[in-house]
Symmetry: C2
Subunit: 215 residues, 2 copies
């Protein structure tokens, strides 16, 4: 099956049946998320895996009581950096150099300096927004990987980040929660959305030079 | 080949050879982008396809002279809504109802009202950020689809949105450019990045309840 077929199969599952996602499929989905591109390869986010019913019960009211929070086998919580710092940039590039021992150290240093001179004046709020955006690319790839593995997923922004950050101790780690991906299996008999026609808007097939594709 | 294998194959191509991406592959990539989930299914962005060398030459200086802008076969310009309005929300849900004739009109209206009452007080700047983030999910799926089709792609944020908006007439359409995906084929002999080890950071394999996956 092709990616398009997988994407046609998936939908934002509204009710899950509690079945458990096997470890190898979970690993696969996380690996796809890990391979996502990000600006300058910074990967300015972490993904937390929650699979503990008591913790899921505590997250539920923070996420407007959406039932999938508890029905899901696992929750992936995407939490992005609260900002860029010299130290964080150093950490990333030092790891890169350790994995690419023949790197041109001078070129890498010049790149790092240019990056920081670009980022520093933009301020912490811009940094946090920029870091959060990178997490969405990874989120997209996790969604694609779940669909390929025939694992259902509910992409969620509907929760209160400050409360989730508090519960998971994210703030102290310089992180803020931006997205949840609930992973599990659709409850076909009880999910009102399961049989609804997909409504992604139609593409204008006649696009050409600089014509919008949709809507 | 699996999605993971495709993601292992891809990289942010730094030099392209000018070869043309066939129409069916371009359509495929755009269809994956179209099928991306977005908050409440709003798809608050458009994708513009640029494949005109003269226009690409004009975009190049706006994108810090990155050579792929002109070497690419096509540029996909992701441009997100500058904000949510009642009218835009209506348009989306009216189209949904037209595609799902058995929708519960009252339920849809209640949902729309709730959505607007949530969005309105958050203000235009929040709206624009939120809309932009949705485009990143679609961007992620376009990247995955390109890799599956063995089309190279360079994800780009490095350009000046106000100038690109001006050139493409986006502002008048209530849009602002957020991302460019350059599509084409790697120039294997001349791309310094082509043979470099992928440096996505290592995953801690021992994660469990609420442990970060990476890094």
């Amino acid at each position: 099956m092709s990616l398009l077929q997988h994407l046609g199969w998936r939908y934002a599952t509204k009710k899950m049946n509690g079945d458990v996602v096997p470890q190898d499929k979970l690993d696969y989905i996380l690996e796809a998320a890990r391979l996502a591109p990000s600006s300058s390869g910074m990967q300015p986010y972490r993904i937390f895996v929650v699979n503990d019913k008591a913790l899921q019960e505590k997250i539920k009211p923070i996420a407007y009581d959406q039932p999938q929070i508890v029905e899901a086998s696992h929750l992936l919580v995407f939490a992005s950096w609260d900002g860029y710092t010299r130290e964080r940039i150093d950490t990333v590039f030092n790891e890169m150099i350790s994995q690419r021992p023949n790197s041109d150290q001078e070129m890498v240093n010049a790149y790092k300096e240019r990056l920081w001179s670009l980022y520093e004046p933009l301020g912490q709020q811009w940094h946090a927004q920029h870091a959060a955006r990178q997490a969405y690319i990874s989120f997209g790839l996790a969604i694609a990987a779940a669909a390929e593995q025939q694992v259902d997923a509910t992409p969620m922004e509907g929760f209160l980040p400050p409360q989730l950050d508090e519960l998971l101790g994210l703030k102290a780690q310089g992180l803020t929660s931006v997205l949840i991906l609930a992973l599990g299996y659709r409850d076909t008999a009880n999910d009102w959305l399961v049989d609804k026609k997909k409504c992604a808007r139609r593409k204008k097939r006649s696009y050409n030079m600089c014509k919008p594709v949709f809507p």
